[in-house]
Each structure stands twice: as C-alpha cells, then as structure tokens.
Amino acid sequence: MLARLFIVIAIGAVLAVGGSMLTAIYLSGMTSGTPANAPLYNYGTG
C-alpha cells in the first residue's frame, strides 16, 4: 500500500509540474505581443 501511495503522490506531483509549466507559458504569452492601433506621437491636439 505504501508503494501505491508513493506512486500516486509522484504522479500527482509530476502532473502539477507539467501543469505549472503550461500555465507559465500561457500566462507569459498574455504579457507580450504588439498592441494594435498604438501611435506614439500623440500631440494631444485632436
């Protein structure tokens, strides 16, 4: 039974590591990219 416990704990931990890496990759992608319609030289005269 102890062996089974260790195995399921290891499986849970490995899945958590994989899930965390995918989460990090997904969330990192949300903070990059090019903004659309973003002119820099806005003189505020419009």
């Binding site: 039974m1 416990l5 704990i9 958590a16 965390s20 990192s28 990219g33 820099l40 003189y43």
Partner: protein, 345 residues
C-alpha cells in the same frame, strides 16, 4: 479427515499473504492522495515558479495620460517674451516596443507633448526611450535608450526607476531616473493614501536648483542691453510626488512642480518654465481602471490561489493517506489467513 495448509505435500508452511483487492475505499484513498499531492505541489509551484515567471511588466504597454497645469509661466520662443497665467496641457503617450523586449527586459517609448492651451501653441515635446527590468522596473542600458527634446538628445546611461516602481514596491526610498537631470534622483517614501479605492504609497522627489546646461540668447531679453548675446546657466528645480500602487508598481497619479530658469552670477534672469503639472482626474481614473485587473491578477497568482491550493491539497492528501493507511491496518475479516487447498483422505 484432516485439513492441511497450503504448501507442498503435507508439511504445514506459511505463505506470503496475497495482495488484497483495493475495494472502493482503497481506490478512493489513492485517488485523494494523488489529487492532494497535485494540488499541494501546484500551489507551491504557482507561488514560487509561475508567479516569478509571469508577474512582470508587459512588453505591449499602451497608456495615454494627460497632465494639466494652470497658471504656467514660460518663455515663448515664437513671441520672444515670457508668457504668464497660461494653462498648459501635457499629453503623455507610452507605447511598449514588444520586438525589442525579452523575458527579463521591457522597452517602452514615451512621448510627452506640451501644449499652451491658452494660446493654442506647442511649447515642447519630449521623447523618452528606456529599457528596464520587467520586475524591478530599473533602467538597463540597451536597445537605443535615449531622451530627446528641444534641449537636445541624450543617449548616455540611464539608471534608477524608468517608468514604474518595482512590482511589490516597499515603503522605502527609490532612485528615479530624472529625464531633465539625466541621472537618478532619490524619491523618499512619504506616506500612504488611497486612489480610486486602491491603497497607494506616496513618494516625494525634491531637486533643489541644479545646473543642467547653458543657453545663449540676446542680452536684451534678460535685461543685459549692453551685450548682443549672453550665455546663461540653465537651472532646474522640481518637487515631484508619485502615488504608486505597491502591488503592481504602477504610478497612478503624479505631480511635478517644476521651475526652469536662466541665471547669471547667481541671479535669476529669465523663467523658461514654471508650473505645477498634475495628472487630470479623468486620466487618474483611467490609469486606476487599467491597473485594477493587474492588481487582482497579481494578488491571485501570488497569494489567494496558492493558499487555496495549498490548504485544500494538504487536507485532501491527509484524508487520502489516512483512508489508505487505516484500511491497511484493519484487514477484512472475510479474508482467511490460511486457505484450505485440499483434503487428505
């Protein structure tokens, strides 16, 4: 008639107990153990790995803020005379250069347009390009960092906070890069307050009159009629106050009480610019509205979700282990220790 135990022949011998079938409770215990381990490790990784990798300033920043200053005095080059009592508006546009950024470094450009709205004429335009660390907000020297204005272009080193405070800003002094002095200046922590419902730290930067350059102009403009041209020292002084969301490092509001003067022999000859510039309430509201989701996301990813995952994971893991261990210690009475395998006549 006699009953023998399992084994060869008629010699009684003891056999290793057969593996017990798991049963519903056994399967449930293992599932809970695996799930608990998954949640517990996920919580720890979210806090110490994912948050460190994800919580950082964006590459694709885009923000427009307006600062207004009533009762400004400035020297009009077009009219060759000082103007006073005018209202000035600064439109400040910040755009991230995503292509120049990386995982650890962001590059933002900021264009500030100064308009004399009383007379409807432009006063100045300043462009700042700075690269900075995506967590500390501190300037790093690369990627064509530069400051450009009518006073010239500066491409030297930049240091101190570039556009923001650090993510997780503390109640302590910070060095802030001053685009006029072109060097960092200390901004001291000066209290806390609330802006649009967001708790903020206030920092104050004081620059006493500091020489930033020289200007050559006709003597008659500064009361030196005997001289065709004079070269005067340009002095800059400011008291700047920043209201910063300490969670995101975003400056929600700021005020710059600036004075640029020309001096000779320690005597003030001409005011180039004197005004108290503050972000308009509409811009503060817009910046706060844009900041709020980032703040919630950072709090969630660094505190709330890891805590929930950790606590629920620990409870479920403990329940799973207890269920498995208690079942192992109380074997079913229906399972005989010895098994009758045959009859000897």
């Amino acid at each position: 008639m006699a009953t023998t135990v399992a084994g060869s022949g008629t010699t009684p011998s003891r056999q290793a107990p057969a593996r017990q079938p798991l049963g519903v409770l056994g399967i449930l215990g293992l599932v809970l153990t695996g799930l608990g381990a998954f949640l517990l490790v996920s919580g720890a990784l979210l806090r110490y790995f994912v948050a460190g990798d994800v919580v950082k300033f964006p590459l694709n920043e885009y923000q427009i803020a307006t600062l207004a200053a009533p009762d400004v005095t400035y020297f009009s080059s077009a009219q060759a005379k000082p103007l006073s009592g005018v209202t000035m508006r600064v439109t400040r546009t910040t755009v991230g250069d995503s292509a120049a950024g990386s995982d650890h470094r962001a590059v933002w450009n900021r264009f500030s347009s100064y308009i004399d709205t009383t007379n409807g004429v432009p006063y100045d335009a300043v462009t700042q390009r700075s690269a900075f660390d995506r967590r500390s907000g501190e300037a790093v020297n690369c990627c064509g960092a530069a400051i450009s204005s009518t006073a010239g272009t500066y491409t030297g080193p930049q240091s101190g906070q570039a556009f923001t405070w650090p993510i997780g800003a503390g109640q302590q002094p910070y060095q802030v890069f001053d685009t006029v002095l072109r060097r960092p200046v200390t901004a001291d922590f000066s209290g806390t307050s609330t802006i649009a419902g967001i708790p903020v730290n206030r920092y104050t930067e004081v620059v006493r009159a500091a020489k930033v350059g020289t200007q050559k102009l006709p003597g008659q403009l500064v009361g030196l009629k005997g001289q065709a041209t004079v070269t005067l020292d340009e002095f800059y002084q400011t008291t700047a106050t920043y209201w910063v969301d300490p969670v995101t490092g975003t400056v929600l509001d700021e005020e710059h009480n600036e004075k640029l003067t020309l001096r000779s022999g320690g005597q003030q000859r001409l005011i180039l610019l004197k005004g108290d510039f503050q972000v308009t309430p509409a811009s503060v509201a817009a910046i706060a509205a844009a900041d709020r989701p980032h703040r919630s996301a950072i709090v969630s990813i660094t505190t709330t979700v890891p805590l929930l995952l950790g606590i629920s994971g620990a409870v479920i893991l403990a329940a799973g282990i207890l269920l498995s261990v208690s079942r192992r210690r109380r074997p079913s009475r229906s399972t005989p220790r010895y098994q009758t395998v045959g009859m000897v006549p």
